[in-house]
Amino acid sequence: RLAEAANAGPVGGVERDASVRGDSPSASTHTPPRARAPRLSPGALPRAPGSTPCDQRPGILAPRPPSAPGAAPRAPHPRSGRSLLGAPPRPPARAGSRARRRRRRSGRRARPPAAARRTPVAVAACGAAHGPAAGLASPRAPAPRPPPRARAHAPLLFCQLTAPPPRPAAPAADQGSWCLCQLNGAADLEVSEADIISTVEFNHTGELLATGDKGGRVVIFQREPESKNAPHSQGEYDVYSTFQSHEPEFDYLKSLEIEEKINKIKWLPQQNAAHSLLSTNDKTIKLWKITERDKRPEGYNLKDEEGKLKDLSTVTSLQVPVLKPMDLMVEVSPRRIFANGHTYHINSISVNSDCETYMSADDLRINLWHLAITDRSFNIVDIKPANMEDLTEVITASEFHPHHCNLFVYSSSKGSLRLCDMRAAALCDKHSKLFEEPEDPSNRSFFSEIISSVSDVKFSHSGRYMLTRDYLTVKVWDLNMEARPIETYQVHDYLRSKLCSLYENDCIFDKFECAWNGSDSVIMTGAYNNFFRMFDRNTKRDVTLEASRESSKPRAVLKPRRVCVGGKRRRDDISVDSLDFTKKILHTAWHPAENIIAIAATNNLYIFQDKVNSEMH
């Protein structure tokens, strides 16, 4: 409690200060008062120069530049700026009974009346994000060395342990020789909830990598072009832009908070110089456009350098404005907000291969949207029973087929997959194919249903297979065979004896994701204790690797880890009983073409690269 108070002190102080003298120089130097929250200025920090090899850097935790606005480790934590964020103060009349029920946050943020709530806030948030985004894009190019402070995941330090493994003398090829490429995130023992990464996604070329976190922020990393001077920096991803995608909201009708946590990010295929992505929290999907600008017009006739109108009497001659190069700026702007389409929590979004539509799935329904139309969507799946008492199954994930724009699949909490064809009917309540594996009677237990609940489903790049993850296994399904999966891999079968405890502490509900490599030959998924697993479909070899600061020495190739179950325990083995169930790797992503993987471990983002097999298997 004391610690809390101590923490809260400065934050509260700053906040109060700021709100009192919102226009004082100190508060307004960097952002307009209303949008003071530092995180709202996308990439407002000079980005880290990518060319410096990490071993020349002082250490993992690079010093924070004193000048960085709001970058003090905790002080003006992003959340502290919240009270300044738009939203007129709530009228006192409403402060009565509801105020009591609102505990978190509410004290810190004035809420508008219910009626005015949803849209205005969304607009306010976007406006705020938009303003600085347009105005304050960061000077991207030769930033003065250090501030490798990615505001990305708040007290998060951007540090590259990139290292040059000079082609280590080779572990078994099919186990790969993964080595840490870089690591983003703070080493703090205390992890703020808002900094926990909740999704990771490469774009279609692999040039960009986006992460979303529970604090509603999106951080985009860009891969450095391979330089001849520093071959080791190849594959290094630098912070490209950071922006606040979603804000916490309060649903007055239900008296429930709507978390700002980013549930999923999906990139749109690039169609012009700009990049676009969809991000979603539980209820609202947003389309963001990320653009670069490295030129600005100069020499206007009526405006001076600062954009002020010139005194007409001083204009004596006419000139043609010219474009002058300038520091690269990355601008992020919200293009569309798809709100009010979902009653339940959105668990997945998927962009169609036609590049015009996408779908969003919540617990009971799937909606189809046009990317340009925000005010209507089409319900394509609805499994909500007439009587909610009859509800025994929910949708857990869904995805479009990578090539056939009419096909999509969704998974359920009972472990089945349903493939639907939108040509068959507008409302795809009748699936075209049902993929379901009969239950193995020898593994039957109280928890059979829970552990069979599918947490993620992914089409292979080829479109021929589907990959599903349930609590203990990953399965590969052939679209042409519905009776059972063609391959089943045990992720952590040793937990089968612990299900009761895992149920008790809620771990059994963890939603692990899974990923294909670029050639569909290897699959990857996460586990506990910061372990992640890879399964080579051809050689049937599997490996357990660990994402940790300690074991991921920059130069070293990751050593396979083993979890021992019985008595015989080799050195370096870890016992089942000492697994840390708070360190879980739920979100992973594989570069679409190369052997680069991004692993989200709590608030850290690890990027590993298989230098030996850098081409596809």
Binding site: M388, E389, T392, P441, S497, K498, E504
Partner: protein
């Protein structure tokens, strides 16, 4: 599985025979796994509470016999009920999780009904030692149709309505002999229990207690539940050795069959709009009166009979509660107003 089950009937005493829920048993020094996990788990907040649960979970797992299955089942049932109320306030609980937990509860209840339909077969007294197991033996098969609860097997006879499962009054009275005054002191007064019911705790009053205890101090409930479990675990183990053992566990089980008017179904009425709240799917058709939550046997009385395997841990876990039975912990973050409402309905009915 069925084969294994049958084998286990004869080798119940063997601590290592293959058993349906044996796989839940920790394979390493007891409790360390759970302690570690719970200690690290982000969701739980109270150490004492966790310790209590640990004892609760692990001790049944050690039970070698069929009884351990029912204990396991009750433990899971209790945990499930707790989970339904334990979500963070003001946030919408995950529908997926709620549905999965709800399915779990339904299944257990289904299974209980199945067992309940067998109940009249047995005479209430002088059970042969194996008979309780016989009734349990039917449970796993009932459970085997997890994937399709609707297609429940009728091999045990058609599913009887709940009323048919009512325990004969004689059994209820038998309970009194086991509800010794030493029993864990209820944290909340049972003033609401109808006078017609036995003075000692029955399902109805215990459900009321449960509700009351949910609110400010639930530690005693936890302690009580842990005590119940430990007591049962012990009695089941002892049952194999002592002649009065079977009867004791028998009586315990008979309590499970109590079906009384007051149950959690009432909560169904608290949901107003299906889209707005999950309350209406909670307990929609879960009849919690099938289970008792309160101890009817004294923890101290059975502690002395504890099997050597679990005695230490159980004593350890129970210790904190005996010293301070009403700790200000509140694992059930239930809304007070909601409780009030429930109480109103209960009293009104």
């Amino acid at each position: 599985m069925g084969i294994k089950t049958r084998v286990s009937l004869d080798s119940r005493l063997s601590p290592s025979h293959p058993e349906f829920f044996e796989r839940m048993k920790p394979q390493s020094p007891k409790g360390s796994f759970v302690r570690y996990m719970l200690g690290k788990g982000g969701k739980r907040k109270f150490d004492e509470h966790e310790d209590g649960l640990e004892g609760k979970i692990m001790s049944p797992c050690d039970g070698p016999s069929k009884v351990s299955y029912t204990l396991q089942r009750q433990t899971i049932f209790n945990i499930s009920l707790m989970k339904l109320y334990n979500h963070r306030p003001l946030t919408e609980p995950s529908l997926q999780k709620t549905v999965l937990i709800n399915n779990m509860l339904r299944r257990i209840q289904e299974e209980l009904k199945q067992e309940g339909s067998l109940r009249p077969v047995f005479t209430p007294s002088s059970q042969p030692t194996t008979e309780p197991s016989d009734s349990y033996r039917e449970a796993p098969p009932a459970f085997s149709h997890l994937a399709s609860p609707s297609a429940h097997p009728c091999d045990l006879g058609s599913t009887t309505p709940l009323e048919a499962c009512l325990t004969p009054a004689s059994l209820l009275e038998d309970d009194d002999t086991f509800c010794t005054p030493q029993a864990m002191q209820p944290a909340a007064p049972t003033k609401l229990s109808p006078p017609a019911l036995p003075p000692e705790k029955d399902s109805f009053s215990s459900a009321l207690d449960e509700i009351e205890e949910l609110c400010p101090t639930s530690t005693s409930t936890e302690a009580a539940a842990a005590a119940t479990d430990s007591a049962k675990g012990t009695s089941s183990e002892a049952g194999a050795q002592k002649p009065e053992g079977p009867q004791e566990s028998r009586a315990d089980d008979s309590k499970l069959m109590d079906s009384l008017p007051g149950n959690f179904e009432i909560m169904t009425s608290t949901g107003f709009l299906t889209d707005l709240t999950l309350d209406d799917i909670l307990f929609a058709d879960i009849d919690t009166s099938m289970y008792d939550f309160d101890p009817c046997t004294s923890a101290s009385g059975t502690a002395s009979k504890m099997a050597p395997v679990s005695a230490d841990d159980l004593l350890k876990t129970l210790a904190p509660y005996s010293s301070q039975p009403v700790a200000p912990s509140q694992p059930f973050k239930m809304d007070l107003t909601e409780l009030d409402h429930i109480m109103e309905v209960l009293v009104g009915s």
